[in-house]
């Protein structure tokens, strides 16, 4: 046994392949920079697009088309006084912005942003003499990692609101946590439908399973996609689900007491989440970087297709914001618990039934008919339970919803 084996490490760095280390460092730096630059662009794009949709001009002073407006705003944040309220819980108050920003960065690590998926390639590219993927990491449980990170992101908002020592942030954070926990269930169930078809949890595998036009968008019958899109908008706390920071009711929501760099971190996290969530939607339902190679190297087309699809969803989120009025809180909860979760669960069971039928050579029409009867019976029971509960409340003279 050599000393290196005993220590299980290599203090003189003899056996280290610097090419591998270089690739990892390069990928991390590129992903980090790309995300930051795309956030700068996203903030500008959102302000410009909303302005156009509202017949305004929007930022047009700093740089061409106002492109440097975000940089100017960012610099302004750093110059501002960094204040912590007297009644705040100092340590948690300082911790909270990082709990919001770090998971937002980490999610991007498992998103495949390029690579050639045509002709049975699995997005492998070759740099420094090594085969690698155009994503920072491809863990075997990639898509679960995304869900886990979106679970952690709740903490930043919750603890920020609580530690501010002020009632409006607290109300905002209680709303946020209830909303995010409610919609996470529907989000997870629609991801499960995708995983059922891809038969893998790795993001690279999910993309490879959709090459080139077998997108999960239609493979899963559109319903999981619509549910995911709605639930993702709610997870992002964006309009029409932006009750968390409803200015008219809560001053500014959970981040009311934050200023300077800490506020900038929340702002950054919010827009990073928009970018990464759009990237996740593209990966799950639209085949990520997969697409036809027209002319030139294949890896370049992967990135081009990915960017085109991503921009579509970024615009969609901005469009939502400019168009849709905010939900009322009870409507939000009704939509989440009584519509989206039963629908996602029922659709998932239907897809699973069809999958089993496919393996066992059953008649798919009969399977769909039996499943429809079963799901209708389940829905009938649910609806009657809701009706009975409402009737009970009415009988007791409470306010009916």
């Amino acid at each position: 046994m050599t000393p290196a084996q005993v220590l299980a490490l290599d203090p003189l760095l003899i056996d280290v392949d610097w090419g591998v280390v270089g690739i990892v460092v390069l990928k991390v730096v590129v992903a980090f920079t790309l995300l930051l630059v795309s956030v700068l662009f996203m903030v500008w794009f959102e302000r410009k697009a909303v302005s156009d949709l509202q017949n305004r001009i929007g930022p047009n002073r700093a740089g061409p088309f106002g492109l440097f407006q975000t940089i100017a705003d960012g610099l302004k944040f750093f110059m501002k006084e960094d204040s912590i309220p007297d009644r705040a819980d100092r340590r948690v108050f300082v911790l909270a912005p990082y709990l919001a920003a770090v998971p937002a960065f980490l999610v991007f690590a498992v998103v495949p942003i390029g690579g050639d998926f045509s002709d049975g390639n699995r997005g492998v590219i070759r740099i420094f003499g090594h085969d690698t993927l155009m994503q920072v990491a491809d863990p075997p449980v990639g898509i679960l990692f995304v869900l886990a990170m979106s679970g952690i992101a709740v903490y930043g908002i919750m603890l920020a609101g609580w530690s501010s020592g002020s009632k409006y942030p607290l109300l905002g954070s209680v709303r946020a946590s209830a909303q995010m926990v409610s919609y996470e269930a529907a989000l997870g169930l629609s991801v499960a439908a995708v995983v059922l078809f891809s038969e893998t949890l790795s993001t690279n595998g999910i993309v490879a399973a959709q090459v080139p036009w077998g997108w999960n968008l239609w493979a899963t019958g559109l319903v999981p996609f619509v549910i995911f899109l709605i639930a993702a908008t709610a997870e992002l706390n964006r309009p029409p689900f932006d009750l968390v920071e409803a200015e008219q009711e809560l001053v500014g929501g959970f981040n009311t007491e934050y200023a300077s760099f800490r506020f900038a971190l929340f702002f950054l996290a919010e827009f990073m989440n928009v970018v990464t969530m759009s990237a996740i939607i593209v990966t799950l339902f639209l085949g990520g970087p997969a697409g036809p190679v027209l002319v030139g190297p294949g890896w370049m087309w992967g990135t081009i297709w990915f960017t085109v699809k991503l921009l579509g969803f970024l615009f969609l989120f901005v469009w939502f914001r400019a168009t849709l009025p905010r939900f009322r809180y009870d409507q939000l909860m009704v939509l989440g618990w009584k519509v989206l979760i039963p629908l996602a669960l029922g659709w998932f069971l239907l897809l699973a039934g069809l999958k089993v039928a496919d393996g066992a050579d059953w008649n798919p029409i009969a399977v769909v008919a039996v499943a429809a009867v079963g799901l209708l019976a389940g829905y009938g029971l649910l609806a009657s339970a809701l009706w009975a509960a409402r009737r009970n409340r009415e009988l007791e003279g409470e306010v009916s919803i």
Binding site: V92, V141, A148, S177
Partner: protein, 199 residues
């Protein structure tokens, strides 16, 4: 092979492999962090701080799973415990009594009883673990193999993914306990609602 391992058909990894020192060091660091955080959970005088320290303990457990190359269990730990259970605890605390600052009434006088229970539980778990695994070491190839009893004649054991192996075990050998657990949790949920809503 000890009784418990023999009963469950767990194939114990070899005892001749060299010890993986960096893994052991990582385990020790994480374990120290977890113990410190666990002590802070019970000694801190603020409910929300206690919940946050509990998150550190659970994240440490997830990190230990990942250190053991059980990434599925690790990520599930984060999703279920950190992403759901503690969030709900915090949510409940915020709706009821989320005081800022220290709460002198947080420690109960009969905390010794809890300490005794904790020591007994630790002894039981430590005994079961040591008795099962003795001085077995982790194999260099960390992919989990199915228990020998699971693999039928002429069937190649599926070892290509940990997640697949876990699901095969959960929905194969341990299907009945899983279903019973599901019924138990539903019963607990219904019971909680019945207790909370007396109308």
């Amino acid at each position: 092979m000890t009784l418990l391992a023999a009963a469950n058909g767990i194939s114990l990894p070899g005892t001749d492999d060299p010890i993986n020192v960096s893994q052991t060091v990582g385990f020790a660091l994480l374990a120290a962090l977890m113990i410190w955080a666990a002590i802070r959970v019970v000694t801190t005088r603020n409910v929300v701080h206690a919940a946050v320290w509990l998150v550190v303990v659970l994240a440490g457990a997830a990190a230990q799973f990942i250190l053991l190359a059980a990434e599925f269990v690790g990520v599930t730990q984060v999703m279920v415990y950190i992403g759901a259970v503690i969030v709900l605890i915090l949510f409940g605390v915020m709706l009821t009594q989320a005081k800022l600052g220290n709460d002198p009434n947080l420690s109960r006088r009969n905390w010794y009883g809890g300490a005794v229970v904790a020591v007994v539980l630790f002894g039981l778990l430590a005994f079961a673990t040591i008795d099962t695994f003795e001085d077995a070491k982790l194999p260099e190839d960390r992919r989990m193999a199915l228990p020998a009893a699971e693999v039928g004649d002429g069937e190649v054991p599926r070892t290509e993914s940990n997640t697949g192996a876990v699901s095969d075990a959960v929905f194969g050998a341990y299907l009945l306990p899983l279903e019973v657990l599901g019924v138990l949790l539903t019963a607990a949920l219904v019971g909680a609602i019945a207790v909370a809503r007396k109308d």
